[in-house]
């Protein structure tokens, strides 16, 4: 594996991607169906739908949409507006244009309704596909990659097999100068002191401590931890127990920085993404489901998401391929079509963690080269973007 390279796509803004996608982005739920109809004929062929459902303005949604529409895996964007929503489509279109990507905005009310907008949209997609065929290629290696990790549908095996194996992968990526991002401070409750002790600087340690206190407070106000009934059915009893398992996916490297959604690190290393909103709780749960977290990881530049599951999640994502690592051998037997790596072998004693970590690294390489992950091949392109509010990250948060 060491030193292995592959060909990626170079964007005019200099960023390197492993996919060459066209996004169709709805700017309010009222434009969602039209966007889906535009993309359907090309769903398995590089055209995907993302969007923001709300009609009220939100800076966080605005920023995340800008980051996603200029993500290195994205080559061009079609914006679909109903016409009367508050989303600032001009500002988003300008950002995409400045990044050198082809962009077009269709306003359903002006174009003349569903049928005409779908026809107009498909015409633009057809033309743009030809342009994207000419996208220049560039050599890429591990040091160009941004990799995110999330666990979902966790059970008691996640923290023993899948998560620690991903922790070893994260250590390797940090050493190779890749950017590795883990998330969900609400699932690090009980691990505060250890987490803080891994900060690269004292200033960052203070910021990590504050973000953990914020998460604990936020979830206390919600009155419900980041814990689903299936976690208990799978043998997890408390949020602390779930946290310890989840935390092990961060590996053992020093933590280089603390990100908020949409912050893109410039230097290689290990980063924590803080997904818990700042200020008084306003819009409900920090993340309503796994895909809400995945979208935020991708807004920080993740090319690939490592997803560890014990109970058996099937989701993928728009924009960046999701590699599914199954921690539970029984789940793997039932759902192997949806899984990329069987970490359950560790539970049975048939493999050690290093073997699984090597398998995950080989998958990262294979999928960076253009092979499809299991969820990608099955057409999973889930996308969720919520209302949230954040203060900008403090100066000690980044190296």
């Amino acid at each position: 594996m060491k030193g292995s390279k592959w060909e990626g796509y170079i964007r005019k803004d200099g960023r390197k991607g492993i996919r060459n996608l066209i996004l169709v982005a709805y700017l309010v739920e009222c434009a969602h169906h039209v966007s889906t109809e535009i993309a359907i004929p090309y769903k398995h062929d590089g055209v995907q739908v993302i969007g923001f459902g709300g009609c009220y303005p939100n800076k966080h949604a605005d920023r995340v949409m800008k980051r996603l529409c200029t993500h290195p895996n994205v080559g061009a964007v079609l914006l679909v507006s109903l016409g009367c929503e508050s989303f600032n489509k001009r500002s988003l279109a300008n950002t995409i244009e400045e990044s050198g990507r082809p962009v077009n905005t269709l306003v359903i009310q002006e174009t003349g309704g569903t049928r005409k907008t779908v026809a107009e949209g498909r015409r633009w997609v057809e033309e743009t596909r030809l342009i994207l065929k000419e996208t220049p290629k560039v050599e890429m290696g591990l040091s160009d990659l941004v990799v995110g990790a999330i666990c979902g549908g966790s059970d008691a095996t996640s923290g023993i097999s899948g998560n620690p194996a991903v922790g070893m992968v994260f250590d390797k990526l940090s050493n190779e100068n890749s950017i590795a991002i883990f998330e969900e401070t609400g699932e690090m409750i009980g691990c505060e002191d250890h987490l803080v002790s891994r900060a690269q600087t004292l200033g960052l340690a203070e910021e990590l401590r504050k973000s953990m206190q914020k998460a604990a407070r936020y979830y206390t106000v919600m009155g419900h931890a980041s814990f689903a009934p299936g976690n208990a059915d799978g043998g997890l009893s408390t949020i602390e127990e779930k946290s310890l398992g989840a935390y092990s996916k961060s590996g053992s490297s020093k933590i280089s920085g603390l990100l908020k959604p949409g912050d893109i690190p410039e230097k290689g290393g290990l980063y924590l993404l803080d997904v818990v909103p700042d200020g008084e709780p306003r819009f409900g749960f920090p993340n309503i489901n796994d895909n809400a977290e995945i979208s935020e990881l991708i807004s920080c530049g993740c090319h690939i998401i490592l997803f560890i599951t014990g109970r058996g999640s099937v989701v993928g994502s728009a924009i960046s391929p999701v590699i599914k690592i199954c921690a539970n051998p029984k789940t793997y037997d039932r759902m192997s079509d949806d899984m990329d790596v069987n970490a359950g072998k560790v539970i049975l004693g048939d493999a050690d963690l290093q073997t699984i970590a090597d398998e995950i690294l080989a998958k990262i390489h294979e999928i960076s080269m253009g092979n499809k992950s299991a969820s990608e091949g099955l057409g999973h392109q889930e996308f969720v973007l919520q209302y949230k509010s954040f203060q900008p990250a403090g100066p000690s948060c980044l190296p």
């Binding site: 059970d155 008691a156 095996t157 923290g159 023993i160 409750i189 009980g190 691990c191 604990a216 979830y219 206390t220 009155g223 419900h224 931890a225 814990f227 009934p229 208990a232 059915d233 799978g234 043998g235 009893s237 408390t238 949020i239 602390e240 127990e241 310890l244 398992g245 014990g310 539970n328 051998p329 029984k330 539970i347 049975l348 004693g349």
Partner: protein, 103 residues
Amino acid sequence: MENSNNLIRLNPLDNVLVARREIAKGEQVVISGKELMISQHIDLGFKLAVVKISAGEKIFKYGIPIGSASKDILPGEIVHIHNLQSDYSQTYTIENQNEYEGK
């Protein structure tokens, strides 16, 4: 880490073991040289007490507390939401989530 065919102790400090496969009620397992009689069916990934744990004592897994015993637990007994509670926030299941909604 102490391993048997059936159980893992993830850290020497732990007072619970994790089942690495289903264990039937009545099976005998040997832990730290002592024979332990399994009193209930245990599914893969579930925890069982390796020593007597009194109500209020911390439960250790990975060498770190994962909550406190809400009642006395005997060696070989399953440790789960019926006798272990979080020191942070209540665990809701399908059965008791109305309590959360009712808040």
